[in-house]
């Protein structure tokens, strides 16, 4: 039997419930926690959300989340502009940044092709990647660093096929990262090895 709350509380619970990993019970607990806080504390959360949404955009070059466009990495003079590492999520960029021996650029797809989640090639930042490769002839190599899942693998093979015969070298992180693991949870040493042993597709 569902409990009844006033419309405003119900709405807050419903919004929290939409967040990943937040079930109905947790949403309720969080909502009552927020309501128990004093005004200043509770509104600081609302402000942080509003500001982040206002100030954070996608980098027009690499599609990573950034407050300055282009982002720090794309603007940096110390990076190898001939290599672009393609990842699924902004989180993966920070993971790759822990790897000392990578100094190229990134491209964030914001997902992988997944029919089950109704995500096709047009729903990820693939067109942006291809446009970037057209505009920046200095890019010579694409490193595909998708998560080693069925969907990540299919996305990588799909991109590799599009780039076939363009003269752009397409490589993939070696499978030092076990199948099914999220890049996010791989340690820097494993990633570094996978990067060094990357294989041409």
């Amino acid at each position: 039997m569902a409990m009844r709350f006033s419309p405003a509380i119900t709405r807050l619970i419903a919004e929290l419930n939409k967040l990943p990993g937040i079930g109905a019970k947790t949403a309720q607990r969080l909502a009552f926690h927020i309501l128990a806080q004093d005004n200043e504390q509770a509104l600081a959360l609302a402000d942080a959300i509003r500001d982040a949404k206002q100030d954070v955009t996608l980098c027009s070059e690499c599609c990573n989340l950034t407050e300055d466009d282009p982002c720090d990495i794309c603007r940096s003079q110390n990076r190898d502009r001939s290599v672009v590492c393609v990842v699924e999520n902004p989180r993966d960029v920070s993971v790759m940044e822990r790897v000392q021996n990578f100094d190229g650029l990134y491209h964030v797809l914001h997902g992988a092709i997944s029919p089950m989640e109704d995500i096709g090639p047009e729903d990820i930042k693939l067109r942006e990647l291809l446009q970037r490769l057209q505009q920046h002839q200095e890019i010579e190599e694409i490193i595909l660093a998708m998560n080693p899942s069925i969907e990540g693998e299919a996305t990588a093979l799909y991109i590799a096929r599009l780039l076939h015969k363009t003269g752009i070298k397409t490589t993939q992180l070696s499978h030092g990262i076990p199948m099914g693991a999220d890049l996010e949870y791989a340690d820097a040493e494993t990633l570094s090895r996978a990067l060094k042993n990357r294989q041409e597709l």
Partner: protein
């Protein structure tokens, strides 16, 4: 808390909570179950390889508070051929959705597990994965008791062997008689080749189910029928294959690098 061992295919796998995954597993003996895999996103988790979409595994589950959890197991086959192309991935995903819908409320029966095993294997190997996935839904419906009548007129039961019209109203073919024609309602013309293919799929043993050759015309006609029949019987519009109807369209000639 009780423990259960069973073989199963991962039919769907979703991130859940921080590092968990929620799996829909078609098991051999317990039908379709939902099972949590705690910590499965972590690299070092032993549940990680057991949570991959489409993998076939030996599972140890424990059952606690009306929920299954994956406790342990080993991968038997990962079916990596599915990632070969978007067509393969989409075909397998579509078939998985239909299998999940149909087995969700059906009593456990090993025939569903066996049919999925042959289907997934063949999709992973085939050059026509989408056609195979559509055909698998017809056999699945037939196994569940929803076979179309492709030997007789659906109204008067007169045997029909050549090309014919199929009536969704009677779920059978339509003979030439005026009475049967007027009772037919929504219908589709099936060529002789299509009928032969569909009859084969309804009756062949699973291990020979996907052994056939068809022309492009038959593939088109059969696909039309299969989509309509599935929608009619499941009372649901399956959209997953639509993903393939709008292929990624972009002029890639500007990507070429000068190789000097």
């Amino acid at each position: 808390m009780s423990k259960i061992s069973d073989k199963g295919f991962v039919m769907a796998s979703f991130p859940y909570r921080d590092r968990d995954r929620m799996l829909h597993i078609l098991t051999r003996d317990h039908g379709l179950i939902s099972a949590g895999a705690r910590g499965a996103c972590s690299v070092k988790s032993k549940l990680r390889p057991l949570s991959n979409l489409f993998s076939l595994c030996n599972y140890e589950f424990f059952y606690h508070k009306e929920r299954f959890y994956v406790d342990d197991g080993e991968v038997i086959e990962a079916f990596l051929g599915i990632s070969e192309s978007i067509e393969h991935l989409t075909a397998a995903s579509f078939a998985s959705e239909v299998f999940r819908d149909l087995t969700r409320n059906s009593p456990p029966d090993q025939k569903y597990f066996d049919l999925w095993a042959y289907t997934l294997y063949e999709i992973s190997q085939s050059e026509r994965p989408v056609l195979l996935s559509r055909l698998s839904t017809l056999r699945l419906l037939a196994e569940a008791g929803y076979a179309p009548q492709l030997e007789r007129c659906g109204s008067c039961q007169r045997p029909i062997s050549s090309d014919a019209t199929f009536s969704f109203q009677t779920s059978g073919l339509v003979c030439g008689s005026r009475a049967c024609e007027s009772a037919s309602g929504d219908s589709i013309r099936l060529s002789e080749g299509t009928l032969a293919l569909l009859r084969h799929v309804l009756t062949a043993p699973f291990n020979r189910l996907y052994r056939f050759t068809v022309t492009a015309d038959v593939e088109k006609n059969a696909s039309q029928f299969l989509d309509l029949y599935l929608c009619e019987k499941m009372e649901k519009d399956y959209k997953m294959l639509d993903l393939l109807e709008h292929p990624f369209d972009m002029d890639l000639s500007g990507l070429k690098r000068n190789c000097d």
